[in-house]
Amino acid sequence: MTMPRIGFAGMTHLGLVSAAGAAEKGFAVVAFDPGPGTAAALARGKFSVLEPELPELVQRNAPRLRFTAELSDLADCDVVYVAPDVPTDDLGQSDLAPLCRLLDSIEGALSDRAVTVILSQVPPAFTRGRWRADRALYYQVETLVFGRAVERTLNPERFIIGCADPAAPLPAAYGDYLARYGCPVLPMRFESAELAKISINMCLVASVSVANMMAELCERIGADWAEIMPSLRLDRRIGAYAYLSPGLGIAGGNLERDIATVFRLAERSGSDVGTAHAWVANSRHRRRWPLRLLHETVLSRDANAAIAVLGLAYKEDTASTKNSPALALLADLSPFAVRVYDPAVAASPEWHPNLAQAPSALAACEGVQAVAIMTPWREFRDIDPRALARRMAGNTVLDPYRMLDAAGCRAAGLEYATLGVT
């Protein structure tokens, strides 16, 4: 059997990780991006995305992975994935224009037998709108997780495939490619696949909303959510990988986009989505946990307080600050001096009128009354509470993600607060 040749159009985080994953599975891969210099930079090993293990994955598969800016290089591909970023605005609305442009431009370059697969997330009805009887078009659900993208692309739980007709067999090349991953393949109609992706995200939001709601109750009644969590994970109806870690609301943009899509679909159809409105309200409420605590411990007592904010990205291992709780906190702290540190994000003066960026976490804490660890970067685990206490002028430490050892902090004389426990 000849192995199908796989193309990827759009060297985004999703496109690049997926292309490298396909090469790792032994396929010859053409990785196309029309952006000036993008393909050339990737060929030199220069990545604009931050993803653990990705550079090694690309390097190891270099012989099978051809980066190109030439559309015609996709001509001999059997299956071409289209994976540009679909940007969202502040209301969670998707801008599908870049995706449509890329689909239009590759259409003429592909052979008649080629299968086109949309890998970017699209709202329900989009794929049906692009489908034509004379071209093989599919929509494949992506479940990229920033920071764990390599592992997930090499070992997917399943493939969810949106089809014009789910009863018809998949084209051989596409079927062979998917089979290589050794996981279940679930063909379904386009609309189901598009809504499956949204359904997955709604389940994640629901779990994390339960965690956030119960964590606050724990804080108020003297329970500890960290003690409760393992008992939920051992419950088969909930599961070991459930999203149960409490956080500062929903961030990153993807979950917000899907909630916005659910609201739009429901407005048009009259469905009841009151539950999702409650998730959003709870998310907004929990996002302000650091402000409420800082107000109580420092801001209401010291008008000249300086605050250190460690971490600006919306989560670790990414430079994305989309809906980041850290930025929300900065906006709320405008009368106070703020010192920030993030290993991947450069602070922007637009975020705060009195902002200083420090070269390290400890340097940011020099002389401050309070420290808020707003992103769970791994390196923050190495902060020595005694060194922190020596650097700070005050002693308030907000550590929502439990990066530091609570007992060690208290032993060092720090007032330590985290999510889910008093």
């Binding site: 309200a281 907004r284 302000r288 402000l291 801001l299 209401s300 405008s334 009368p335």
Partner: protein
């Protein structure tokens, strides 16, 4: 949703206080005057805001660039009936019409947490108003009147239970408990006094208004501290001010227990340096001030 029109603090040219002889309007007026601010204090003796000629008379007193704080209101102790509501609505209409004619710069409307349903246990700035009383419906109607007709930026402050030395309203809470203790040596509570409520001192409420005036805060804020205590705790705190300590008597409960908590995060986001007086300190302060006055 709170928006700052003018994020840099500065005092406005002149503040006109409507309802300046009342508990809240009076405290605000005294505080503004103590700061040396220019104030026009108007009480019902100056202009009867419910009278048909009120709009004209108010317009005659206003200057372009004025800031107006609208505190004038007949509170439930002055009547819970339709006639009281209609007088309050007439005031609302007249003031709104005067605001349209006069080129005022900014308006603060002092509203009430009565705009929320009585059984709402947790109130945040985005909680939907759903008044269950004429008084609450009146405040909501006045808010809507001002929003619909006035072009100047509008800040609405929905105040919860306010207490302080000059309070005359005698509603169930710290002020009435103190009067009971002083008069009879005992405080009577409905049931065990289990209901949780948020009590804000008049000086803290005035602090919020002052910040709104400085920053021209638009939108709806909550006049609350974010910390609720049971009436039993309030009664204990009041009782301990007296020597001998006042007795607390529990009478059979007439109404089911309801609680009320406020999430004041949007106030903290707008004014992160604001500090609220704790209930113990506030009650002790009122007691000391009243003793001093004797």
């Amino acid at each position: 949703m709170v928006m700052l029109v003018n994020p840099t603090s500065k005092n406005t040219a002149r503040t006109v206080v409507l309802g300046a002889r009342g508990f809240i309007g009076g405290a605000l007026t005294r505080r503004l005057e103590a700061e040396g601010a220019s104030v026009l204090a108007l009480g019902s003796g100056d202009i009867d805001l419910a009278a048909p000629e009120a709009t004209e008379r108010l317009v005659a007193r206003l200057k372009p660039g004025d800031t107006v704080v609208f505190c004038a209101c007949l509170t439930p102790d002055r009547g819970r009936d339709l006639a009281t509501m209609m007088r309050n609505l007439a005031m609302g209409r007249n003031v709104a019409e005067a605001m349209v004619t006069a080129a005022v710069d900014y308006i603060v409307y002092l509203s009430s947490d009565a705009v929320y349903a009585d059984d709402t246990a947790r109130i945040a700035s985005d909680t939907k108003a759903e008044p269950g009383t004429l008084y609450g419906a009146m405040h909501l109607a006045r808010e809507v009147m001002l929003k619909a007709s006035v072009k100047a930026p509008l800040g609405i402050l929905r105040a919860t239970l306010v207490y302080g030395t000059a309070d005359t309203h005698n509603s169930y809470g710290p002020n009435r408990f103190r009067r009971m203790a002083e008069k009879d040596g005992k405080i009577t509570l409905s049931g065990g006094g289990e209901e949780m409520r948020d009590h804000i001192t008049i000086s803290d409420l005035v602090e919020i208004v002052l910040r709104m005036l400085r920053q021209k805060t638009r939108g709806t804020l909550l006049g609350a501290t974010g910390r609720s205590a049971s009436f039993a705790e309030v009664a204990q705190l009041v009782a301990t001010q007296f020597t001998p300590r006042a007795e607390i008597v529990n009478l059979p409960r007439q109404n089911p227990i309801t609680h009320r908590h406020f999430d004041v995060t949007s106030t903290l986001a707008a004014f992160p340096e604001i500090a609220f007086t704790t209930l113990g300190v506030g009650i002790a302060r009122v007691h000391a001030e009243l003793l001093e006055r004797r």
